[in-house]
C-alpha cells in the first residue's frame, strides 16, 4: 500500500471506530441529522483547516487564520451596518482583502527569509488588532440575503439537513484536493515542502509558490470568516481565538506530515470530523466536561505524531539503511 496514504487510512479507521463506539452507547448518534449538524458546526473549521493543510504541505505554518476569521466577521458586520453594499459585494471585497493579506505575508516570508512562525504571528496581531479597531463590540449581522443563505439546505434522507455552508465546506475540500493532488501547482507545493533547495534546483519558482500558498490560506481564512459570520449572525473581534491551533491539530490528525511535502487533503476533513465527533459525544453524554475535548485532542495529536515518526523511520530503514551505514562508517573512523 502507498505509505503516504497509511496515516489517512488510520485516521479514517479511528473515526469509524470512534463513531461505532459512540453508536453502541447512543444509537441516535448515527443519523443524518447528527451528521448534518456535525458538518454545519465545523464548516468554518474545515475550510480554514484545508488552507492550513496546503501551508503545512509547503513546509510552513499560518498562525494568523483565527484572527483573520474574527476580522472577517467584524468587517462584514461593519460594512453591512455602515454602507449600503450588498452582502455578496462585501464578501467579494473581504475575500480580496484576506487573500492580499495572505499574499503579503507570503511575500514577507520569502523576501526577508524569515520563519513563517513569527511572520504569521505578526499577521495574527495585525488582523486581530484591525478587528479591534473596527469594533470592540459584537455586531449583529442581519440581511435578507444572509438569512436566505442560513436557511438554504438540502434535505438528506432521514431528515438530516445538509446546509449551504456545509456544502461550501465540502466543495472547498474537493477543490483544494484536486488542486493539490491533480495539478502542477500541487506538485510544486509538495516539492517546496519536501526540500526547498532541491525544488529550486529542479526549476520550481519557490518564491512564487510560497506567496501563492499563503494567499490561498488567506483566501480560505476569509471564506471561513464568511461562513462563521453567516453561522453565528454576528461579528465579534474576540471570536475564534485559538482556531489556528484547532486547524493545525486537524491537519496533523488528518495525516499530513508536519515537516511538509507529504499528506492527503481529505484527511484533514476527517481530522476535523473526529474533533467534532468528540464534542458531539460530550453533548450526548451530558456528564462529561468540555475540557475533555482538549485532553483527548492532545492525546490524539501525540498518537498521530508518534505514528508518523514511526512510519518515517520505518521508511528510511527500508530505503537501504543508507544513513545507518554512513553513521557506522563514521563511528568506525572515529574508533580507528
Amino acid at each position: 500500500m502507498n505509505a503516504r496514504l497509511l496515516p489517512f487510512v488510520v485516521t479514517c479507521g479511528i473515526f469509524v471506530l470512534a463513531y461505532g463506539l459512540a453508536w453502541l452507547q447512543f444509537p441516535a448518534i448515527l443519523s443524518t441529522r447528527v451528521i448534518g449538524n456535525l458538518l454545519t458546526d465545523n464548516a468554518y473549521l474545515g475550510i480554514v483547516a484545508v488552507g492550513m493543510t496546503v501551508v503545512i504541505l509547503s513546509g510552513g505554518i499560518d498562525l494568523s487564520v483565527g484572527a483573520v476569521i474574527a476580522f472577517s466577521g467584524v468587517f462584514i458586520g461593519v460594512m453591512l451596518r455602515d454602507t449600503g453594499l450588498h452582502p455578496y459585494a462585501v464578501f467579494v471585497l473581504l475575500l480580496l482583502i484576506t487573500t492580499l493579506f495572505g499574499l503579503a505575508m507570503g511575500a514577507v516570508i520569502h523576501l526577508l527569509e524569515m520563519p513563517p512562525f513569527i511572520v504569521t504571528l505578526a499577521g495574527m496581531f495585525m488582523a486581530r488588532g484591525a478587528a479591534y479597531v473596527l469594533s470592540i463590540d459584537s455586531i449583529p449581522i442581519r440581511h435578507p440575503a444572509i438569512e436566505a443563505i442560513q436557511s438554504a439546505y438540502w434535505l438528506m434522507p432521514g431528515k438530516g439537513r445538509l446546509t449551504l455552508i456545509a456544502g461550501l465546506m465540502l466543495l472547498t475540500v474537493a477543490a483544494v484536493t484536486l488542486l493539490i493532488h491533480r495539478s502542477p501547482f500541487g506538485t510544486r507545493v509538495m516539492a517546496v515542502g519536501g526540500d526547498a533547495r532541491t525544488a529550486r534546483l529542479l526549476g520550481v519558482d519557490v518564491g512564487r509558490t510560497t506567496v501563492a500558498v499563503y494567499g490561498l490560506s488567506g483566501f480560505c481564512a476569509g471564506l471561513a470568516g464568511v461562513v462563521f459570520a453567516v453561522y453565528t449572525s454576528a461579528g465579534y473581534s474576540l471570536a475564534t481565538v485559538g482556531t489556528e491551533l484547532d486547524a493545525i491539530a486537524a491537519v496533523v490528525i488528518g495525516g499530513t506530515l508536519l515537516t511538509g511535502g507529504s499528506g492527503f487533503v481529505p484527511g484533514t476533513l476527517v481530522g476535523v470530523l473526529i474533533m467534532g465527533l468528540i464534542q458531539t459525544y460530550i453533548v450526548f453524554d451530558g456528564t462529561l466536561s468540555s475540557w475533555w475535548t482538549k485532553i483527548v485532542i492532545g492525546m490524539l495529536l501525540f498518537g498521530f505524531v508518534a505514528l508518523q515518526k514511526g512510519l518515517v523511520q520505518l521508511r528510511s530503514r527500508k530505503g537501504g539503511g543508507r544513513r545507518r551505514a554512513r553513521r557506522q562508517s563514521a563511528q568506525g573512523r572515529a574508533a580507528a
Binding site: I61, M114, A122, F125, S289, L301, V305
Partner: protein, 333 residues
C-alpha cells in the same frame, strides 16, 4: 573607543527602550514619577517592572529553548497547570513550601515531557510543545474541576502582591531568576554548550556535547520558569483560572526573545536582551494606556514593532548592513 561586547549586544534594545520611555514621557509627563506610600514604591516604571514579571520569567526559559533552535508553545498552558496545582494544594491545607515545590515539580515534569518529545522522539519543537499547549488547559481544568479555584492563604498571595523593602515581590523574583540563570550559564560552559547545540546539533554531538541532555535541560528550565510565572499570576489574583491564566503569554514571551535580537534559528543568545525585550513590550502596553490611545490599537502597534524588528533582523538585509558597517569602520572619523 570600543564598547564591551556584552554592552554592544544589548545597545539597540536599550536604545529602543530609552527612546520609547522618552516618547511616552513627552506625551504623558507623569510617566517617570515614582512615589512611596505605605512603605511601597508606586509609579508607572514600577508598574511596568511588576506587570512584566510573568513575560520576563517566561522569556528567560524561552531564550534558552530558542537558543537550541527550538520553541516552547506550552508555557502558557504550563502556567495554568502549575497555578492550578498550587491553588489546589493550598486549599487542601498543605504547607506553603510543599505547595511551591509541588508547583515547581509540575513545571519541571511538563518541561521534561516536552524535552523528551523533542530530543528522544525527535518531534519538531513547534508540534511537540503544541501537544501540551492544547491538552494543558484541559489538564489544568481537571485539577481545578472547572471552577476558578480561589484561596486566601497570605503566604501564597505574597508571591503576587507582596513587597520586600518597597519593591514588589514579582520584580525581585524575575530579577533573581535572571541573575541566577545568567551566572550559571556564563560562569560555566553551559551557555556555550546550549549555543553549540543551536548552531549545529550534529557538530556539537560530534564534538562531545551531550545534545540530548542539553535539549531536555533547556525545556525543563522553561517549564520551571513557566511554573514561577504561573505562581505569580495565580498569587496575584488569589485564584487559579485554568482558562485564562497565561493565555497567549507564550506568544508575548517569544516576541520578547525576538525583540531581544535572538535568532529563532538558534545559536548565540542574550538573556538580558530578551528581558529588555519583555520590558519594551510591557512599556508599550502601559504607555498606550497612559497616552490615552484606545487599547484597541495595542495589537496593531505591537504588530508594526514586530515587523520593523523582523526587517532589521532579516538575513537578506544583514549582509547589506554589515557592508555599511565595514565601510564606516574603514573610514576614520
Amino acid at each position: 573607543m570600543t564598547l564591551p561586547a556584552g554592552l554592544a549586544r544589548i545597545l539597540p534594545m536599550l536604545a529602543t527602550l530609552v527612546l520609547l520611555v522618552a516618547a511616552i514621557t513627552v506625551v504623558s509627563p507623569g510617566f517617570l514619577e515614582i512615589s512611596v506610600a505605605n512603605g511601597r514604591l508606586y509609579g508607572s516604571p514600577i508598574d511596568v517592572l511588576n506587570r512584566g514579571a510573568p513575560v520576563a520569567l517566561l522569556a528567560i526559559g524561552m531564550t534558552l529553548v530558542i537558543a537550541t533552535g527550538g520553541i516552547d508553545l506550552s508555557v502558557g498552558a504550563v502556567m495554568a497547570i502549575c497555578g492550578a496545582v498550587a491553588a489546589k494544594m493550598v486549599t487542601l491545607g498543605y504547607p506553603l513550601p510543599v505547595t511551591l515545590l509541588a508547583a515547581l515539580a509540575t513545571g519541571a515534569a511538563c518541561g521534561l515531557w516536552n524535552g523528551l518529545l523533542v530530543s528522544v522522539l525527535r518531534i519538531q519543537p513547534i508540534i511537540a510543545t503544541l501537544i501540551l499547549m492544547v491538552a494543558g488547559r484541559g489538564i489544568a481544568q481537571l485539577v481545578t474541576e472547572g471552577a476558578i479555584l480561589t484561596f486566601s492563604d497570605p503566604g501564597l498571595a505574597f508571591l503576587g502582591s507582596g513587597a520586600v523593602l518597597g519593591v514588589p515581590f514579582p520584580v525581585l523574583l524575575w530579577t533573581a531568576a535572571a541573575v541566577g540563570t545568567i551566572l550559571v550559564l556564563r560562569r560555566t560552559a553551559l551557555g556555550f554548550l546550549i549555543e553549540a547545540v543551536g548552531v549545529n546539533a550534529r557538530a556539537a554531538y560530534r564534538a562531545g556535547v551531550n545534545t540530548r541532555v542539553t535539549i531536555i535541560a533547556v525545556y525543563v528550565v522553561s517549564g520551571l520558569c513557566a511554573a514561577l510565572a504561573g505562581l505569580v499570576v495565580t498569587a496575584d489574583i488569589r485564584g487559579a483560572d485554568a482558562n485564562n491564566a497565561g493565555l497567549w503569554l507564550e506568544l508575548d514571551a517569544i516576541l520578547a526573545v525576538v525583540i531581544g535580537g535572538n535568532s529563532l534559528l538558534g545559536g548565540r543568545f542574550s538573556v538580558v536582551a530578551s528581558l529588555i525585550g519583555a520590558m519594551i513590550t510591557q512599556t508599550v502596553n502601559t504607555g498606550i494606556l497612559l497616552a490615552g490611545f484606545p487599547p484597541e490599537y495595542n495589537l496593531l502597534i505591537k504588530a508594526w514593532i514586530v515587523l520593523v524588528i523582523l526587517v532589521v533582523q532579516s538575513p537578506r538585509l544583514r549582509p547589506l548592513l554589515a557592508r555599511r558597517r565595514a565601510m564606516r569602520r574603514g573610514t576614520p572619523t
